[in-house]
């Protein structure tokens, strides 16, 4: 669907261990069509810093009586996210969306081969988990089993891990959490936990979101073990709808794609990491 520029009404700001929180917004019926991996541009302040809107992938989505409710999982990293953390219920925020290509848009649907009943792996680094909850819901609804790999530096970086754990379990899979300081889950990095299973052919597809370093490593593993996959990228974004050309992502073809319009979801083997 075409994005619409509308207003979201703040329903709640739900605190998670700092520096994370969820922003819950009520909006129009059109938001019901938002797909996993798509994002919205939110005006965080009517002041001058930041001047431009901020991009947030849609973390969760539900219907309301007359419209839709979205949840954004946010990490406080600067003035824009700090401003959002201070929003009060009832405030109205300009929201443009849905924008971008969803998961499953770069390749044939992972369920297109009915004979392959292996599960898929969802891999998140920190707040990169944001778009993967909605993806998990859709996979569950389709009866696709998935394991959720969740890595962070420290325990707070695994925001909403219980929600991911119960969703994965409902699908028949499980949550594998790792932290670099050992404060939660396994001590280590998420790619180590994933590597043996990829080598053993446990998974038929990977969906990931997180820091570029993690995604690059996953792309290498995806190629090495011939397990295809997609990554949702995070880049600085000016407008979100393909006008400013600020969010270039270099492809293996040498072309600069736009993260906002051609992505944010790209096939692992399409990006020049």
């Amino acid at each position: 669907m075409q994005p619409i520029d509308t207003r979201g009404r703040v329903v709640a700001v739900n605190a998670h261990p700092l520096p994370y929180f969820s922003l819950v917004l009520d909006g129009p019926e059109e938001w019901r069509a938002i797909l996993p991996g798509q994002f919205v541009m939110v005006e965080t302040t009517d002041g001058l810093e930041p001047y431009l809107r901020r991009a947030f992938s849609v973390h969760d989505l539900s219907k309301t009586d007359r419209g839709a409710r979205i949840e954004l999982l946010v990490k406080i990293v600067g003035p824009g996210t700090r401003a959002l953390a201070g929003k009060r219920p009832g405030e109205q925020l300009p929201v443009l969306g849905p924008l971008g290509q969803p998961f499953g848009s770069t390749a044939p649907d992972p369920d297109s081969d009915p004979s392959d009943t292996r599960p898929v792996a969802l891999v998140a680094g920190g707040v990169g988990s944001a778009p993967l909850l909605l993806l998990g819901r859709r996979l569950l609804a389709k009866g696709t089993r998935f394991d959720f790999y969740y890595g962070g530096r420290s325990s707070p970086d695994l925001a909403r891990r219980e929600a991911f754990a119960s969703l994965a379990q409902a699908s028949g899979g499980r949550l594998i959490a790792t932290t670099e300081d050992g404060s939660a889950g396994e001590h280590g990095v998420v790619t180590t936990a994933l590597a043996a299973h990829l080598a053993a052919g446990v998974y038929r597809k990977i969906f990931a979101c997180g820091p570029m370093g993690l995604l690059k490593k996953l792309a290498e593993m995806s190629a090495e073990h011939a397990v295809p996959g997609e990554a949702a990228l995070e880049t600085p974004m000016g407008c979100g709808f393909g006008a400013c050309l600020g969010c270039a992502v270099e492809l293996v073809t040498g072309r600069f794609a736009l993260c906002c319009k051609d992505g944010p979801v790209f096939a692992f083997d399409a990006v020049k990491w």
């Binding site: 075409q2 994005p3 520029d5 005006e43 001058l48 810093e49 930041p50 001047y51 431009l52 809107r53 300009p94 443009l96 880049t235 600085p236 974004m237 000016g238 407008c239 709808f241 393909g242 006008a243 400013c244 050309l245 600020g246 969010c247 270039a248 992502v249 270099e250 040498g254 072309r255 600069f256």
Partner: protein
């Protein structure tokens, strides 16, 4: 007690017997006539059609395209943008689809709208500008050309012409020789004397001066020690540059004698009026469109309302209307 109040005419000024006229928003910039003085700035509105589902293209005075070159350009490596306080720092590198693709695929779609299409042209070599202008000259859907001689984000070409009055005069003359379309020259705020550059553009045959392009800037991430842009330097735009733009518009409008399009941090009706008073006949809206894609059309409406409040019949009456302080 009055049993039935007199019908209220919303267009009637209280206490006045005359129905209120809609203010005249049309402006003339030399040979270029526009339905209103609000245009979208090059590089901030794509090729126009990107905004078709987000903005009312038919309400704009004009659309200035993303800078177009003879061949498509790939652009600069990321990161390409950063956000200093009150603005945007960019180094896109003039990524564009090339003039041929624009003329074949985009221009026909834009011609459906009353907004005038101004094609922004950019070249690496001296001759590129005339070749581009000659190519678009036969297209009636192109209302004017704007020569980008001031982009700070490419290694060669472009900006050299915008900093050298002798070279620029020759360049504009070479374009003048091949086109009858109005020629606007987009000036750099980074030149030592924008007035001297503007004089050179006029001498070469330019009809209009567009001012300003982005202000050369730089930002560094204190944690990674990396420049926030891959190209180290970039162009600053947005509210942060507005006073620089107003000053340059004022200088060239008062000294050069060509119509001026003011550019730099325009996002409110106050901003538009400020540029008009400084001497601009029209304005271009840039970075604000990324924050709010409807900014330009909202300014058209807001300007009409404001002129009515100010009891100004024609927007052109405001041009150059700044009231300087008396010397004392």
């Amino acid at each position: 007690m009055v049993s039935s109040p007199a019908p209220v005419d919303p267009l009637r000024v209280p206490g006045s017997t005359a129905a209120l006229r809609q203010p005249d928003l049309t402006v003339r910039l030399g040979p270029l006539q526009l339905p209103n003085p609000i245009l979208t700035a090059s590089g901030c509105f794509g090729y126009g059609l990107e905004f078709a589902h987000l903005a009312a293209l038919d309400r704009l005075g004009g659309i200035v395209t993303k800078g177009l070159s003879l061949a498509p350009l790939k652009g600069n490596p990321p990161p390409r943008i950063s956000e200093p306080r009150g603005g945007m720092l960019n180094s896109i590198g003039l990524q564009n689809i090339g003039i041929e693709k624009f003329l074949a695929d985009v221009l026909p779609g834009l011609e459906r709208f009353p907004a005038k299409v101004v094609v922004n042209l950019f070249g690496y070599e001296f001759d590129d500008y005339a070749r581009l202008a000659e190519r678009v000259d036969v297209f009636p859907g192109v209302a004017a050309v704007e020569l980008n001689v001031s982009c700070p984000n490419v290694k060669k070409g472009g900006i050299e012409f915008g900093h050298d009055p002798i070279l620029l005069e020759r360049l504009v003359r070479s374009v003048r020789a091949v086109t009858t379309k109005p020629i606007a020259v987009k000036l750099s705020p980074n030149a030592t004397s924008p007035v001297a550059i503007a004089e050179a553009a006029k001498a070469g045959g330019a009809d209009i001066l567009s001012a300003i392009n982005t202000v050369l800037g730089m930002a560094i991430d204190p944690w990674t020690r990396r420049p926030r842009l891959h190209t180290t330097r970039g162009g600053l735009s947005g509210p942060a540059v507005k006073p620089i733009a107003v000053r340059i518009v004022y200088d060239i409008a008062t000294k050069v004698g060509l119509p001026v399009i003011g550019i730099g941090g325009v996002e409110s009706v106050d901003d538009v009026i400020e540029f008009l008073l400084a001497g601009a006949s029209a304005v271009q809206v840039g970075t604000a469109l990324f924050r709010n894609p409807r900014t330009a059309e909202q300014l058209v409406d807001g300007l009409a309302v404001r002129l009515t409040e100010m009891k100004v019949d024609r927007v052109s009456d405001l041009v150059g209307g700044v009231l300087l302080w008396e010397e004392r």
